[in-house]
């Protein structure tokens, strides 16, 4: 699992690290200047940035069996591979949240927002971003629909669905951020946090089951059609 996570982190740092970090930092800085670090507005920019990171992290090329060659050489189990991928995704999301730290602290002192709200915000957004990454992982396996379409259907669909259905609104990162960062009663993080983690875990289970069958078939000589995706 650690080898898989380490490999993913190395791959990210050598290829996309500068772009993604620069994009997130630029977005947060621009939003900070534009919105004067107003928490409820800048918090939405942070949400968008980290969800985008989750999306990018999930858009892996691991659907192609040939990129798994070295993994097969290492004789890793599917469960460890999936766990490693999810761990790497979470680490990457945390790494992308680091540039936001100075701005978050500045926002706390300029606007006087309590630390507890800040912690809840960051934790919730990171788990929401992790869930998006998991959904994109899943979408990448639905090659018969086309990867881009499936990503939009799953990732974007979840955001739209959670915003539209009243009882799912506590799970929507944008709505929750708005509620948390506006004056008023402190919103509870527990339902959203548990739901995000549960759905992420469920996605991991699905990936594990699917890839177990998939690799068994590949070893038996089956040839996959990657669906023309990434």
């Amino acid at each position: 699992m650690i080898a898989v996570a380490w490999a993913d982190l190395n791959a990210w740092s050598s290829r996309r690290a500068r772009f993604s970090l620069l994009a997130v930092s630029a977005c947060l800085t621009a939003a900070g200047i534009l919105f004067r670090l107003r928490p409820e507005l800048w918090g939405q920019a942070l949400t968008i940035s980290l969800l985008w990171v989750g999306w990018q992290v999930g858009a892996e090329k691991w659907i192609r069996l040939k990129s798994w060659d070295w993994i097969r050489q290492e004789r890793l189990g599917i469960a460890r591979i999936v766990a490693g991928k999810f761990t790497a995704a979470l680490l990457l999301i945390i790494l992308h949240a680091l540039p936001a730290l100075p701005l978050l602290v500045t926002m706390v002192y300029v606007w006087g927002i309590p630390w507890v709200r800040l912690f809840r915000l960051v934790i919730f957004i990171m788990t929401a971003s992790w869930l998006i990454a998991a959904l994109i992982f899943l979408a990448d396996h639905m090659i018969w629909l086309g990867q881009q379409v499936t990503r939009i259907l799953l990732g974007g669909g979840w955001l739209v669905l959670s915003a539209a259905v009243p009882f799912l609104r506590p799970l929507n990162p944008f709505i929750f951020t708005g509620r948390l960062l506006l004056p008023g009663p402190l919103a509870s993080i527990v339902p959203g946090l548990l739901a995000n983690l549960a759905l992420t875990f469920f996605s991991a289970l699905l990936l594990w089951q699917y890839n177990k069958k998939r690799f068994k078939a590949a070893r038996a000589g089956a040839i996959e059609n990657s669906g023309g995706g990434v």
Partner: protein
Amino acid sequence: MDRRRLFSPLRTAVSFIALRTYCRPRRHRPHVSASRMYALFFTVVFCLLIQALPAAGVVLTVTAGYEGYVVPGRWAPLEIEVTGVMDGWVQITRLREGLPAVTEEYRCRVEDDTRRLLIPVFAEETGSRFEVRLVEDGKVLGRVGLDLLEKVFPGHLILTVNLPAQHQHTVGPVFSSAHGHEPVLAIPVEFSALPGSALAYDGVSALVVSGDLEVLNPLQVQALRTWLAGGGSLLLFPTQGCVEAEADGRQTDVWSGPAAAGVYGIPTGETEEGWEIRRYGRGRIICAQAQDSGQPVTTVDWQRLLALESYPRPLRLTPGLVFREGEIPRFFGENEGITLVPLMIVLALLFLGGLAVAGIFYKKRTAVALLAYVAVTTLLAVPVGRWLAGNWQRGAIIYTRAVLLPEDTGVLIDTVIRFPESTWKTPVSPWGATLALGETAQGAINREGTGETFWRHDSLQPSFFAKAGDAKHLHLTGLLPPGTRRAGDTHVRGKTGPGQAMKMKAGRKPAGEGAAVQPPGGLLQRDPWLADLGALFPGERWTVGYGDLPGFTLTLENSRGNLVLWAEPKPLPEGLP
């Protein structure tokens, strides 16, 4: 032992004990077993009685509002009735989630009788939970929990006293929400149930009385006057009609104070379709000229007579919430520039610094360098944020208990301003603790912000002179003359407030503002809290924000080094005669 009983098929079938007894017959000793049971029972009961003994002689009864109904966002009477013998305190604890509990104590001494305390409490729109305790020598004799959200009535609450059946019947269908107005609830009460505290009237939109007010005791009269002066409406059906009653001089004693003179220059009395309408301070008294002049009363009559405006419109003795839920306060225009440019520069430097670090350490421990940069900038963000915030002075959380005092003695303002950070320069957060002014002294403004704190009232009358201030909080109590409008001491405010603002200045002269007008000396003497404000923070620049009280919008701001209180009269509701 009668073994035949044990052979009973039914008993054998349903009773395992009987079966066991049949198989292993023993000597039956019913008296011994019963004695043990009785002894055990009496022991338990005795222990329970011992536990309950201190409260046995005292009965605590608590009711909130009128027939339990409270209007959200208004004060409501909390009636506490203590029966029995005790010498201790009544503690009222406001329970708020995430905030320290604040307990107010009132002396309570009952000598084999019943004592009734009527204490106004503020019913927050988001819900207010209270716990009322009777405490004697540290022992809790009884406790009652209250949730004011259980019977809230977000509309017009009208108290009726001795209203004849035909009028009571008329009130019902007329005052309904079906007419596109606020819902109305008419609650019949007795003269004796009318409160002796003006704040208890806060949730009442109108009082309809059939009879003579001379039966009220002085405390009730004072409360009624205060409420009327603050914007209440009294509809009166005297026993002999208004004209006759006034000729006798019976009713005039009730509203003979200076507030009856009409603080806004409106004619003191008007006659309209059998009613005499007279102003009393900000409120009005509608009096039937003859006993039968009120019949029939149409919907339009009731609306006009009682001036039942939409919910937020009526003037009430209500504290204002500065930072409403879900809203961010606006900034003072003149202070934005101080912080915005430095903020933008800081953010831009932060970003450019990151780019520089990434460029310098390109392909050579970039990740480590960036992590170090993030760590350093995060630590630096603390003083930078404080510095920015210090420049960016914004409004504070101010809750104001404002009561228009009877006899035109002024508006009592009891204000607590909290500075949550360690320095007064740091702006107060709209996410900070919300305080209802007047119910906090050392209570909710304790430094730790945790635990339960007490505020002891030695009497039911509020202290008009208490004031305190330190780096954490400011507690002001003082008087503001009511009804003061554009006069010799007014100043038209151009930049940061509407044109009808009245500017009262305490402390030094405003730099560069020659147009500012000094208040008359008497005003400052009557408002020692303004002078104390300067004494508490001599030579300091500060903004404590803006508040709201009935009829006025209060704004306290530094205005670049000048201590200024803005009292901005609100326009009167339309439709008032």
